[in-house]
């Protein structure tokens, strides 16, 4: 029972960041129809920027995180402008290959620039964990989860309550009609990619002090973000959020009670099951056609 509580707590912490990664990716897919394989690299970029700003440059921890996220948004804009905009009329396979290429290039640049030795990001939180009964959690992780929740909630408010959010959802449903209604599609694409990238970079920056920063850290993240997106249904934002928590839970309980060696496989086993039994995703309403 105590072990179960610890697993559940860990799952919530993990799920929050999976959700951040998932909604960024699903948003880009939904609005732009791009399967974005640079997502994990934006995560890595956010982590390295957090390291550079808080470590060697000795900025305040919170300021450093905020700037790292902004730089992530900037990199997202650059990628969209230079690689995806010229290919707007191309099919999904083409943009997918381009983002895979960008993934490899970015990763090698990181390896070249930072070297293979892992970097550690200092943080101001006490290292002694909060202990409730036999369950414990580090203050840093509590901070990560709180920020993740704030980001998730503000993202929903933006999507559901602002004109910009309505325009984005309209583009989501039908780019051509919304462009006839006066939505500037190009700007919408850039902003979507920027927001998606910012969410990935924020997950990376938040998790950098929890884990260590290495050039390959994004690989598994890209795959997991896709797992979250497929679990929730492609382009489904609420689905991706819940999918993030489901994946966290599946990994924790799978590792805790089945076999820890297959921890990272759990998510992918779940995807196979979802694709076989409910290919539209766990939470997708019936596909709207026409």
């Amino acid at each position: 029972m105590e072990q179960l509580l610890q697993h559940l707590l860990n799952a919530v912490v993990l799920g929050g960041t999976y959700a951040l990664l998932g909604i960024g990716l699903t948003l880009i897919f939904g609005v732009m129809r791009v399967a974005n394989f640079t997502h994990g690299e934006l995560y890595t970029f956010g982590a390295y920027m957090a390291y550079a700003l808080i470590g060697p440059l000795e900025l305040n921890f919170f300021v450093g995180l905020a700037i790292a996220v902004m730089l992530g948004i900037l990199l997202g804009i650059v990628i969209e402008f230079m690689l995806l905009r010229p290919l707007q009329k191309s099919d999904m396979d083409t943009t997918m290959l381009v983002t895979i290429g960008a993934w490899i290039a970015l990763q090698n640049m990181e390896l070249f620039g930072w070297g293979g030795v892992a970097k550690s990001v200092p943080h101001p939180f006490p290292t002694d964990p909060f202990v409730i009964g036999s369950v414990s959690v580090a203050p840093l992780r509590v901070f990560v989860v709180c920020v993740a929740m704030v980001l998730l909630v503000s993202f929903y408010l933006m999507i559901n309550r602002t004109t910009f959010g309505i325009a984005m959802r309209a583009t989501f449903q039908d780019p051509e009609v919304s462009s006839l209604m006066g939505v500037k599609i190009n700007r919408m694409f850039t902003l979507t990619f920027a927001i998606g990238s910012g969410l990935a970079a924020s997950a990376g920056a938040l998790l950098a002090p929890v884990f260590v920063v290495v050039p390959m850290m994004g690989d598994l993240v890209t795959l997991k973000a896709f797992a979250v997106v497929i679990l929730g249904g492609l382009g489904n934002i609420v689905g991706a959020t819940i999918g993030g928590f489901v994946l966290g839970l599946a990994e924790e309980l799978g590792a805790g009670y089945i076999d820890s060696g297959y921890r990272d496989a759990m998510g992918f086993i779940l995807i196979i099951a979802v694709l076989l039994l409910r290919p539209q995703g766990l939470f997708a309403p019936r596909e709207r056609t026409g």
């Binding site: 072990q3 598994l220 990994e251 921890r263 496989a265």
Partner: protein
């Protein structure tokens, strides 16, 4: 005309072969990029340092040594490609490699094909020396030898004594081998075994494994994995207040790097290392250890890399000694000479015993192992 060009080229190349003052090539395959790039780079740097030291003292057989370093990208397929390049392209008479059992095992069939010996500087799986490959000479300890040495000399050094042990290992040949051997050793000492957990090589969140281990009631947790993951284990064990004393095995834990990256979480942990640069006077050959450490620092390499770097250093010393004893830089002669070398390395004496099936034995050296503890951000003798 074309015939003339071909003739010219072949003349030129044959001329270069007979030139006695040409350097002797030693090939090396290491992971310089990919998951284990950090450790691979340390080992490669150790080899670079050794080549410099050897060349400065006049080289071998009156010729200089040239290190041809290839990146196997932490990937077995790429490891085979590097071996092909070194063996058929550069035609090196001896190679070093390849960091880890998986990468080394991938290269081994090529040695049989090209009949070129390999000095294995890092690999812990017993398969490396028991698969009947007479071209393999390993200077690092397989897990069985490491566990045995731990049982013989280090087991009793722990107070309070080890009563119940848990294992947390990376899910590959190395980790599973270590977990098997240390479990066997602990059982033979009357120690109970609690949780045995594995983790994927690229897993970052180990909270589930640690939550299970925390409940096992053990007093000592043996961890076998690379330095990055070990850092995460230490940090997360502290977050979850895992009560066990942590002992890392495998010899590539680079305690200096752990202190820097895991901070307070590294305090109290024990590490099995095969080279203890903090106490060179305790090495079997202190003067060799000191020469290595000085040359390493002069190159400006990070001190944290010494615990891995010595493998590259000792590997080169071994290959060079064999070339010297053979009297010529030819693969078969070097292989024969390797059986009789007695090298004073940074780790200690390197000489090979026979291992594996009769008639096709591989060479296995029995290295020294040490255990150190991190205390108040410093490496100390426990």
């Amino acid at each position: 005309m074309r015939t003339l060009i071909v003739l010219g080229i072949s003349l030129l190349s044959s001329v270069s072969y007979v030139h006695a003052s040409d350097p002797i090539k030693i090939g090396m395959s290491q992971p310089l990029t990919g998951d284990i790039a950090a450790a691979g780079t340390y080992v490669a740097n150790g080899a670079r340092v050794a080549v410099e030291v050897v060349n400065k003292s006049g080289g071998v057989l009156g010729r200089q040594i040239q290190l041809i370093l290839e990146d196997n990208k932490s990937n077995p397929k790429e490891a085979v490609a590097t071996a092909e390049k070194l063996l058929s392209g550069d035609k090196v008479p001896v190679i070093l490699g390849a960091w880890g059992s998986t990468l080394t095992l991938a290269i081994m069939p090529r040695l049989l094909e090209y009949k070129v010996p390999m000095v294995v500087e890092t690999a812990s799986s017993s398969k490396v020396t028991t698969s009947g490959n007479p071209w393999v000479f390993r200077i690092s300890p397989p897990s069985a030898i490491e566990a045995k040495a731990f049982g013989d000399t280090l087991f009793t050094k722990f107070t309070p004594a080890i009563k119940k042990a848990d294992m947390l290992v990376v899910n590959n040949d190395w980790g599973r081998g270590a977990s098997d051997e240390f479990t066997k050793l602990m059982r033979s000492k009357g120690v109970q075994i609690g949780a045995v957990e594995t983790m994927a090589p690229d897993a970052t969140d180990l909270s589930a494994q640690l939550a299970k281990i925390k409940q096992s009631g053990g007093d000592t947790l043996f961890v076998t994995t690379g330095i990055e993951q070990l850092t995460l284990v230490l940090k997360q064990a502290q977050e979850q207040r895992v009560p066990q004393r942590i002992v890392s095995t495998g010899g590539s834990s680079a305690p200096d790097q752990l202190i820097e990256q895991a901070g307070l979480a590294a305090n109290g942990s024990y590490h099995i290392v095969f080279f203890a640069p903090w106490f060179p006077e305790d090495a079997a050959h202190p003067e060799v250890a000191k020469t290595f450490i000085e040359a390493w620092k002069k190159k400006g390499y990070a001190a944290a890399g010494l615990t891995d770097g010595f493998r590259g250093y000792d590997g080169i010393l071994t290959a060079v000694q064999a070339i010297k004893d053979a009297g010529k830089a030819e693969p078969a002669a070097i292989r024969d000479a390797l059986w009789n070398v007695n090298v004073k390395g940074a780790n200690g004496d390197i000489k090979f015993e026979k291992a594996g099936p009769a008639g096709q034995e591989s060479g296995q050296s029995i290295p020294n192992i040490y255990v150190v503890q991190i205390k108040d951000g410093k490496v100390v003798k426990p």
